[in-house]
């Protein structure tokens, strides 16, 4: 118990976690209370002169349709954060089920399962996402699905390693001898023990997922106008870069800062929990 307290203390007091944590909390509050914080509706066109520079009434200026950039960014937080989290959740849950199952069953199932993971790894994940979008069509939720799907092999591999390690522990064998059902052992015993590792890799990957989804939206494959997703906003802001750079600078800036905060927290978290060592041992 004492050790956990020391870990928690180190994590909270660290400058990196503090900065990252505060910024993220600000963004989350912004996302939740968007209707209250944002002066205008994200879809309200012609609230003022089009493409006007940042001013008191329009903190980040207006875009080509006369919409307030600041309001759109605030509402956009809802999109960028939630789609990132959902995508990672999807990947983690599917990856965990697959990884734990093949690790637990072992034998041929494990060998085949590992081969499948390796083959999926033969593709750069972004290419895989592109391919999936090519098949199922464009749209924000399609992209979320595609990115989540592409992340499954990555998660499955790490979770499988971790599960293999836990499987060797005596209490698992004790559970089998006591006649516990397989499902109960897999998800009641193995899963809770690899939970810290799952949290850490999920957080470390969250930043990447947010960027991937924003990138696909930027390319026109994800969020479609007029949705205020930051990647899509950058795509439209691009055209007016010369005379109205604020339409490009601010959405990207917030994307960058959000991802940076998530990465910072992920870093500190993994250091605090010493998870990296366990993962490395698992891979060996």
């Amino acid at each position: 118990m004492n050790r956990n307290k020391i870990i928690l203390k180190r994590f909270l007091l660290n400058k990196g976690s503090a900065i990252g944590g505060i910024f993220l909390i600000v963004i989350i509050i912004g996302a939740i209370f968007a209707p209250v914080i944002a002066p205008y509706n994200w879809n309200a066109v012609d609230t003022g002169p089009r493409l006007s520079p940042p001013s008191l009434s329009y903190l980040f200026g207006t875009d080509i349709h006369g919409r307030d950039v600041f309001s759109r960014i605030v509402y956009g937080a809802r999109y960028s954060l939630s789609v990132g989290v959902i995508s990672v959740l999807f990947g983690i849950i599917a990856g965990s089920m697959f990884g734990i199952t093949i690790a637990y069953i072992g034998g041929r199932v494990d060998i085949i399962g590992s081969r499948i993971i390796d083959v999926m790894f033969g593709f750069p994940s972004f290419l895989l996402s592109l391919l999936v979008v090519a098949i199922i069509g464009v749209g924000l939720w399609n992209v979320v699905f595609a990115v989540g799907l592409a992340s499954i092999p990555h998660f499955a591999r790490i979770i499988r390693s971790a599960a293999l390690q836990v499987k060797e522990q005596p209490y698992i064998e004790a559970g089998i001898n006591l006649g516990f059902g397989n499902l109960r052992i897999m998800f009641g015993h193995i899963l809770p023990n690899i939970f810290p590792i799952i949290i850490v890799i999920a957080t470390m990957d969250l930043g990447g997922a947010i960027i991937s989804i924003a990138s696909l939206s930027f390319l026109g494959l994800g969020a479609q106008p007029p949705e205020p997703e930051w990647g899509a906003m950058l795509s439209s802001g691009r055209e007016y870069m010369r005379y109205a750079p604020w339409t490009m600078i601010y959405p990207g800036l917030f994307l960058f800062l959000t991802v940076m905060s998530v990465n910072l927290l992920g870093d500190r978290l993994s250091q605090a929990l010493d998870a990296r060592q366990s993962i490395n041992r698992g891979k060996a």
């Binding site: 083959v119 999926m120 033969g122 593709f123 750069p124 994940s125 972004f126 290419l127 592109l130 391919l131 999936v132 979008v133 090519a134 098949i135 464009v138 930043g207 960027i211 924003a214 990138s215 930027f218 390319l219 026109g220 494959l221 990647g231 950058l234 691009r238 870069m241 010369r242 750079p245 490009m248 600078i249 990207g252 800036l253 994307l255 960058f256 991802v259 940076m260 990465n263 910072l264 870093d267």
Partner: protein
């Protein structure tokens, strides 16, 4: 020698398995490719049948699969739906700019990544370590399309230092940075942690006990060992260079395979998408092979087996 040959042999089945996945994926597309081919024009059933025959869609799946694999090996994957040109020709025409971009990004990423990694790793927990790692963190957090646009805005539009469009070496600078930044960040972090690990090893203490200078120790003893994990990372990150190509070519309006792929997807030009993915997969697998080779060269434990007892 054994090690290298073994690796080479494994590549072939890997390639075919990957291509199989491509085939399977692309052939569960809902929707009728025939419609696309006809450009949405209404046509009689007879015309449709003809088109179907031309596209080879009337043959059973197994036969199509085999001819797909054969064609992929030959390098001839048919004609694009939209441009009616052979896809191989289209790929060849657009290959060069993408290769240049990838190499540029690779050089930038490796050079700066390793550089900052060494700065940080040789004095952990110091000011310069924090400084280098903050930069690395920015590298992996920056969306490449945003930094690309910001670079264009700052250096191109506002300062006018670098030309935005055009061919030639100078026009490669900004896009390479854009592609390579994420890569550099990852390399820096990994190089740092790997170097810190290596410098804590017992054999470094032995080297010190010989009276070797710090400079000597870092260069000769640590770097070679410390580079093993980053080299492995390189293999995984090659995917990023391909990713980066798609986005960066779009941002900088450069021609290349990335642009081609994007347009193909948006237009649902299946043969072109298929050909591009087949090609990129092959390149990716081949590059990973080179990485494996490098890994074997650097670390003798991998390539040599235990002899004496």
């Amino acid at each position: 020698m054994n090690f290298f040959i073994k690796k080479l042999i494994i590549v072939i089945p890997t390639l075919y398995i990957a291509w199989t996945v491509v085939f399977v994926t692309l052939n569960i597309i809902p929707g009728d490719p025939v419609n696309l081919m006809l450009g949405g024009r209404p046509a009689s059933e007879e015309v449709r049948e003809n088109v179907r025959k031309n596209l080879g869609l009337d043959k059973p799946v197994a036969e199509r699969y085999v001819s797909f694999l054969i064609n992929a090996t030959k390098g001839d994957l048919g004609k694009s739906y939209l441009t009616r040109q052979p896809v191989t020709k289209m790929i060849k025409e657009n290959m060069m700019p993408t290769i240049q971009l990838s190499i540029g990004g690779l050089i930038f990423g490796v050079f700066f990544g390793v550089f900052f990694g060494i700065i940080a790793g040789t004095k952990p927990n110091s000011m310069r370590d924090t400084f280098a790692m903050v930069i690395a963190l920015c590298g992996i957090s920056l969306p490449s399309f945003w930094i690309g646009m910001m670079l264009i805005f700052i250096f191109g539009t506002t300062l006018g230092w670098v030309p935005i469009v055009g061919e030639g070496f100078v026009s490669l600078i900004l896009p390479s940075i854009s592609v390579g930044l994420f890569f550099a960040g990852g390399m820096a972090r990994l190089t740092r942690s790997s170097l810190v690990d290596v410098l804590n090893q017992d054999y470094i203490r032995t080297a010190k006990s010989k009276g070797l200078s710090t400079y000597n120790i870092i260069l000769k003893h640590s770097l070679r060992n410390a580079m093993i994990p980053p080299v492995t990372l390189l293999g995984i990150q090659f995917g990023l260079l391909i990713t980066g190509a798609v986005i960066t070519e779009e941002v900088f309006a450069r021609p290349g395979l990335g642009q081609l792929l994007l347009q193909a997807i948006l237009a649902k030009d299946i043969p072109l998408v298929q050909a591009l993915v087949v090609y990129m997969t092959a390149v990716y697998i081949f590059l990973n092979l080179i990485v494996d080779f490098t890994y074997g060269i650097i670390d003798p434990r991998i390539r040599l087996e235990r002899k004496s007892a």
